[in-house]
Symmetry: C2
Subunit: 202 residues, 2 copies
């Protein structure tokens, strides 16, 4: 795309917005012209929030979710059910599950999924930490909430074979999720149904 005749800062911000997922050049231009018409304070709030994200966010040393304080608000909340542990691939999946308000246990972020094609095996994921955590907390049920695709299934099966022998019930989110889809795009109702209908693995 030519930016001939477009003010430099406008072209720069269009370019920066276009680097973000789901934002093409036309949407980026729309966002920029929206910001141009807003008070300076609105643009500052957005810029400050972006910097704060990088400055103030860290990983929870218990569940490896992203948090401002360590341990995170969920790990630190005594009202959460310590018997339930939900395994997710990425921290963003916690956000999707929390939106349903259908789950009251704690989480564990693997940091990915088993994917031999991408050279990711169990050793690259936080599975050792998961075993240690189950031992330390005495969780009685492990809900595997990985995406309903090949990597998610492989990871769920691996975890089931590894952890069920420890006397922990290993369950999987029900297939209300569309196959091949992406967990954090599912709507709240579908995700809530998937939590309610979770089934035993292995």
């Amino acid at each position: 795309m030519t930016t001939n005749g477009i003010a430099g800062p406008v072209a720069s911000l269009i370019n920066e917005f276009s680097k973000l997922p789901t934002i093409g050049p036309k949407t980026a231009a729309r966002l920029v012209f929206h910001l141009l018409n807003r008070p300076r304070g609105d643009a500052e709030s957005l810029a400050d929030a972006i910097i704060a994200l990088k400055d103030r966010v860290q990983l929870c040393s218990w569940c490896f979710s992203i948090t401002e304080e360590d341990p995170c608000a969920i790990c630190n909340d005594p009202r959460r059910n310590g018997n339930l542990l939900c395994v997710v691939a990425e921290a963003k999946d916690i956000y999707a599950l929390e939106r349903t308000s259908a789950y009251n246990g704690r989480y564990h972020v693997l940091g990915g999924l088993i994917s031999p094609m991408d050279g990711i095996g169990p050793a690259q994921l936080r599975i050792k930490e998961l075993i240690e955590r189950i031992g330390a907390t005495g969780a009685s049920e492990l809900i595997v909430a990985t995406n309903p695709n090949a990597e998610g299934e492989a990871t769920a099966l691996y975890l089931s074979r590894l952890i069920a022998p420890l006397g922990v019930l290993v369950t999987r989110l029900a297939y209300g999720l569309p196959i091949g889809g992406d967990l954090d795009y599912a709507d709240e109702v579908t995700l809530a149904k998937a939590i309610e209908g979770r089934r035993t693995l292995g």
Copy 2:
């Protein structure tokens, strides 16, 4: 939406992104988790570009487009055809037209469209400045590139009646644009066709 258990800076940035047009809470969350996975420098570039937009952009005193230097790059470019003047409602429309590379004249930004329902009449637009500019530059054709809707048509008709008597050819973008649509959403080919097929008004 609950942000229970979500780190404060994450929730804040999701909230800020959600204020932008076309971005709902789920897309906002996607953008935030994308930024979390990117190097700090990427986030800084985005934040800096947002601030630069507010700090370094001003209105061109000739055409009222947005620009870093006054006059803007288009008004200041001697290779531009000074006989052609294209009237647009908003500066963002220039960006859409420039993408086509089908136009080599200059622009004039009205700052809106005639809309009696919203209390916007000719006096609220930069029509006096347009007349002055036509007088000063001796432009021979005025292309009215307003949106193909009621306000855009009313404005085009008003300009035609006002300016054609001055001996200036007043034309309108051809209807390749979908009626009721929005100019800056049109694709480049459609817009280029609309520029080629412009027709005499009045």
